[in-house]
């Protein structure tokens, strides 16, 4: 079930980034992919989707006390950071305007925040049963 939830998170994040890149103004896809050709417009959402889907699991490993602010800050940093990288080094997707940068970053950060928030809510609803003490 953990893998299924991770895949679900990945699909949401991947599709949100893909949607933002194609539809929002100020962002341009240089060479749109058509299967079997796979371009940067698919690889960038895939990498960003993987990063966003890993926020909650990684925070959980680092620290057990996860709150919404932490998830929001990490999602915001990842989103704004990755689109800033795109501004200077277009990887198949190009940031044309500041409005595009802000809009895409906000939409993607919101998507990443929501998926991790739901993941946290689900984990809190079904907590792992406490381990039984071993009989010596």
């Amino acid at each position: 079930m953990v893998i299924v939830n991770f895949l679900k998170c990945l699909a949401y994040n991947f599709l949100t980034v893909f949607f933002a890149n194609y539809l929002l103004m100020g962002i341009e896809v240089e060479h749109p992919s058509k299967l079997p050709h796979i371009g940067g417009d698919l690889l960038f959402p895939l990498v960003l989707g993987l990063l966003f889907s890993s926020i909650y699991p990684i925070l959980k490993v680092i620290d057990q006390n996860i709150n919404l602010a932490r998830i929001g800050i990490v999602a915001g940093c990842l989103s704004f950071g990755s689109y800033a990288i795109l501004k200077f080094a277009p990887l198949g997707v190009e940031v044309k305007t500041v409005e595009g940068y802000l809009l895409a970053s906000i939409v993607v950060a919101l998507g990443g925040f929501l998926t991790n928030f739901f993941e946290m809510k689900r984990a809190n609803k079904f907590p792992k049963p406490p381990e039984m003490p071993r009989m010596s």
Partner: protein, 124 residues
């Protein structure tokens, strides 16, 4: 909330498939704020696919995996067959468009509905 998530992923997967699947082309590509007919098509197919489990529940039909899969297959392949005949912002130019596009949309929407079915059976 589960329905909204299912609706969102069903919409996004149609949007994704329209752009990357071979044999499918967007005829009037426009960016926001001009929302064109391809977005209407994505919303419509997404809505239909996401409504499978709620509709079965309203009709008091016992939910089974096979029933969900059949309904999703009919909607997914049917939608691409319809736009192959009547282009509506999206154009299907060969059989690969129907097969690849329909299959991806079917798989993802089935997965979303299956998860919704599980969450309903847990009462969440």
């Amino acid at each position: 909330m589960t329905y909204l998530r299912s609706l969102l992923i069903s919409f996004l997967i149609v949007f994704f498939v329209n752009r990357i699947s071979p044999g499918i082309y967007i005829t009037h590509y426009q960016q926001i704020p001009t929302v064109m007919s391809d977005i209407v098509f994505c919303s419509f197919v997404g809505f239909l696919n996401a409504s499978v489990v709620p509709c079965y529940s309203i009709l008091d039909v016992r939910l089974t995996t096979i029933k969900i899969a059949i309904a999703n297959a009919l909607i997914s392949y049917g939608a691409f067959i319809v736009i192959a005949i009547v282009p509506f912002g999206v154009e299907v130019i060969n059989i690969a468009g129907i097969l690849v596009g329909g299959s991806i949309v079917w798989l993802v929407s089935f997965f979303a509905n299956y998860l919704e079915k599980i969450s309903r059976s847990f009462g969440t």
